[in-house]
Symmetry: D4
Subunit: 214 residues, 8 copies
């Protein structure tokens, strides 16, 4: 579908089972509105916009989003899928926008999500509380900044697929998420795979691929 300055991959949903999200950063508010309008007209599946600014959200409000998750907006949610549950675990309050981007994308796709926020490794007891819930999840998404020990500790306790999302939060030596990224990639726990820094949408898509046709 050709909108003059952008062509939409409306066929993606059928081809690989997930829709193309609209990445708002670097687009004007009116470009966002125009793209979402076009998608709502043409596309049967969910419409997802990530990384919106307050100004973009205000402009998109006239299109009445089905749900708003921090900077992520969604329309036309898919039907609830009968099985498979994704657990999203995060280390701190500041990781919330990334958790929201992941949770919002999955919800729009009809997937049941359970978010466990503020489950840090420096207080192991908090972690212990949620382990049973994680052990029965189909996929675990571990969102963490700073030294990002969370997926490593989970990796030794939980048999499910674990997708790490490094976040750009934290003090000066976190280097905008590079420390968390490297830490997750070097994890001594086997079978952790990782998506890009702050990429909650990417983690949701990885989970969707694992859940399959549902």
């Amino acid at each position: 579908m050709d909108l003059g300055d952008s062509r939409l991959d409306v066929d993606r949903m059928r081809r690989i089972g997930m829709p193309e999200a609209v990445y708002a950063e670097g687009k004007t508010a009116s470009q966002c509105v125009r793209i979402v309008e076009a998608l709502l007209r043409v596309d049967g599946g969910p419409v997802i916009v990530t990384r919106t600014s307050p100004e973009q959200r205000k402009a998109l409000d006239v299109l009445e989003p089905t749900a708003t998750w921090s900077a992520t907006l969604t329309w036309q949610h898919a039907e609830a899928r009968p099985d498979g549950r994704v657990a999203v675990v995060s280390g701190g309050t500041s990781d919330q926008p990334v958790v929201d981007e992941c949770e919002g994308t999955l919800s729009a796709m009809g997937v049941a999500v359970e978010a466990h926020r503020d489950v840090g490794v420096a207080g192991l007891h908090r972690l212990v509380d949620v382990v049973p819930s994680l052990q029965s999840a189909s996929v675990v998404v571990a969102v963490a900044g700073m030294e990002a020990s969370l997926p490593t500790v989970l990796g030794g306790l939980v048999p499910a697929p674990i997708i790490g999302v490094p976040t750009s939060t934290g003090y000066g030596s976190s280097f905008e998420g590079i420390t968390a990224l490297l830490s997750m990639l070097s994890s001594c726990a086997p079978g952790i795979s990782v998506v890009g820094i702050d990429n909650g949408y990417g983690a949701a898509c990885s989970a969707l691929r694992i859940l399959g046709d549902g």
Copy 2:
């Protein structure tokens, strides 16, 4: 299990469904032999040693490995699992040791693997030949060095979970796999997740987590 200078996590298999592999780099040949002997005595599950040097392999030969995959040696293979097939796709001959580490680990765990070597993106026709096989796989592991376009191109064609393994091969600007790593993490195709550079064993464990109890 305490071997004096190493304690083995013999319980890991039961806890998270995958055995602890022995990482040979930085160990002496006799340390390797001693650890494998101990594992063969105690552990019911597969025994896997990765990143062996020629000298280590020679020493381990007396323990008669069930299979040898480049630098990866395996013993006590698990029974063949009834369902689920992993496709391992790679971009060039030089990625072979990484492909072998992944394929060897999965085979030792009883998983059916199909390896497609030398399927580069600069000659798309080679890729087209294998797409049908990839589309029916449970998991796709994409091993690639240099600019690592392979998982991105696959990501638009295949609905299965895709695990990228960046490799350290290639000319000077590949920077020992950093380019491939960053490229995979930044992929414009949704839902690619990534393990560390050259970490074929990690990709295999990610695949095992996805396949579940089989």
Copy 3:
């Protein structure tokens, strides 16, 4: 030509066949105006200003630019050249200012340009549509951010010279274009050459050198 705080290389056009562009970043709006005025008085060839801010553009408006391409402004276009066509291909909407800088520079020099926007690699079918047009171009400029697979895929399909322009768009692991830059430099497709991050003007000049005297 000495303007007090800048000397202009008005002879460059004759010497190497391309004019000196005025790089606006770090200059005041009035410095920009003074330089362009001087060039319009003295120089026979095209006048090109790149990377203008809205404020600079407003100030330069009084000099009535012949054309405006996002942040690039041009005056005194060269005559249309009889032969040679440059195709500029880009991966996403957010690469538009870089595409514009390239297209604007070439147009001011009288070169025929054809821009194909939003031709991503994660949807190969979009790419397939434009390949015939690319195969008949004299030069292909491939503008791409994130993992920048575009020039690699083109490199295996198109015999023309391919100039890659990495852009600074994309999520956290794109690292302001470094990922795209390294990816292009490591391309497994032969004969891709690369200019600096976001340097659409540089790509245009490379194309001009290739087209020669026209």
Copy 4:
């Protein structure tokens, strides 16, 4: 063409006008021999092997290469092309293997090459001697390590396309060619495009694309 562990892209010559070179690093001597034998049997075009070790060269000697350029070996040279000449300029003796890789690849393709070695910028008079020859070349390849000023200085003097090849030679602050790479990418001279560190073969392919069908 499937050799068991490598598939050759024998069709590349026809598709994009340049053959696939065999990159020897990371291959065994016997793998090299097997691949070259296969290419000599099947392929009509030139056969090129780059980055050979002394041991690999010794093994390949039995296949009687048409020419040897440091670590680059070539067979079945194309017919001499009627027009177009490439000038390869380099800054120091230690850049010779990179110059040779470029010159060897071009010669095997039938292109006339003129190499100007040891033309440094710290002694401008040496440069002045070769400028007339460069000004009549179809393409200039500038090979330089350390601070890599060479392509920048040439860029202001020569109208032809200039392809920079950063090399990994030089003292500690050259950082294995990164300094030269960044310097070339940031060049204040317009229209310099760059290939990867030490990638003489890539520069030759870029030149081939520019020369076209010859």
Copy 5:
């Protein structure tokens, strides 16, 4: 001298022949005023404040600076020194604040300075015009961003001490001056020494050390 939250090294002038400059970044406007007032009362030598913001400059204006050089303000200039002249050469308009910081510091110390702005390497003829003046200078300060070829080219033409100052100007691959810094440190011309990025004050102090007691 203790001002509560800062102790001033008022003895430095006597000990090493140059005064302590006040680095304004990260100080409040009133902290700046208080420090300068104290220095004007106590210290016989020049008072120099670098990297002021517009707001700080406005506040400092009430102390009536002897001279203002972009963001550098000076008071109590030393007597003009009888001999020794420093030439400051720069590559572009955007390097002006750095040139000014260097020129202002030297002037306040009574040193004769001659600034040659916008002398780029991509137009060698501009450089040739100023070489005679540089050849008679006591010290040459070469200020350059981007690929920073300037000190290298000068290094082969001028016997005087050459101090390179890399600047943070330029397109995306300049990486905030890192490219220029590495380029200068790797220069193939002998005897170039370098100060930190944008550190015009540091270059002035290096020159002062070389000029000695004057």
Copy 6:
């Protein structure tokens, strides 16, 4: 303690002898207020908030902090500890917020602190004045930016534990504190340990661990 979007580790004080500080960056002003209110209600120990913005400080003011140290606010100070004194030494005025974060945290915990500001290494005499005081301290915290020689010089003079805090102040080659961090980690003086860039709170906690139960 579960606040909906954050769980507080109120037990930490008992477990490891130091309270959890509230890191304000990335939290809204009202989130900060809500968390502090909850802590003041529940927790017997000190409440510490670091890295507040002016807006957050204004909002927190209604809760009447016991003390304000630049961006660090504290409530419910612990009783003064009978023994042990921490000396905090810093190199320049711009390091003050980091010194304050450290001093504020320690004071809230009842520890006697002595801060020596602006004790640079380039004027050794200033350092000599404070050495006797440092030699009788229980712990020395050395806060320094730029080349961060301070802990190295102290390391050869003082037998107490020395904790280095690199700061992000300084000119362009300080690279936001990376230079200071690397310098401290490479110190030729034995027994310097280091916390993250600008992490005054972390240094305070390290000191608390060393002082023990007091």
Copy 7:
């Protein structure tokens, strides 16, 4: 003490309570022998040589070291100190040389050390076994490579001072210890301080400073 090409700081023991160790890397075997001989003649305190090669160890053997710890050799051990115990915990077999360097240095100084090797975070149960011993230690040294979660997890469980030593072991994304270093510096557990990569000697000296006069 002047040995011609090295001056020994024999007074350091008295001044800051720890001897100068001889760092063997980059010294010839005979330089090592000469320095140790001199120290044994003059110095009353312990003599410690770190980072010896096999060849250097062979040469030093004639001086009959009191103890050998991998690459660390010690002579003239101090008397056993009455109180204070250091626990050294490490994540894997490959960290052993670093643990040994730390343990050897402390032992030579008369400090009681207890080393817990191979206590990884991916198997939390191993960690739980040793926590009681760590909780009664005066200082905990946590040696870890890869993602280095160990000190973070310990930081939430143990009140003692914790010194992290990142090690250069691990797969490709460990980047020679940089990942572990950054991870430790960014730890979300309060009060972890860190020494340089592989610097077991430095950690021992930090512990000595904390233990004080014993």
Copy 8:
């Protein structure tokens, strides 16, 4: 002078007052011999070869060097210059090859040099001994690895020009000299200028430029 594969800049001595040194790394032993032979025949001035391997030194021995300084060999020394003395100060035994490269180059040029080896900052008393000698030197070259505090401390004590040479010695966090380089560039002492890592020859040339015609 054209030697087939290298052109020598025999005129450099006259033009900028210093000869071109032969950088041996990356050249064969016989290339070195051939170049030196040619220089000895043609050139009136000193001949200097740096960074020789043992094998190269053995081959060059037949040409009977006037002096050998670690890896630096010199012939045809210039006459002793009447005035000006360079002090070379270094932090440790392992910096000796760099000190030698600097001292050898200066000696071959007839300059009086005084080398103070092993003058570390962690033992300030060693430094104090040599300060008087440094205060009367014309130029001070400060060679230092690790955290490289030496030039900073000297910068506050000595008025002469100070040239810093970072060296690649030291533990893991020295990062092959990058830490020392950044530290010197960020020095809080005014007027330190720096040459590339391990570049003793470059420091000597900088000193020569400062000494002038002698």
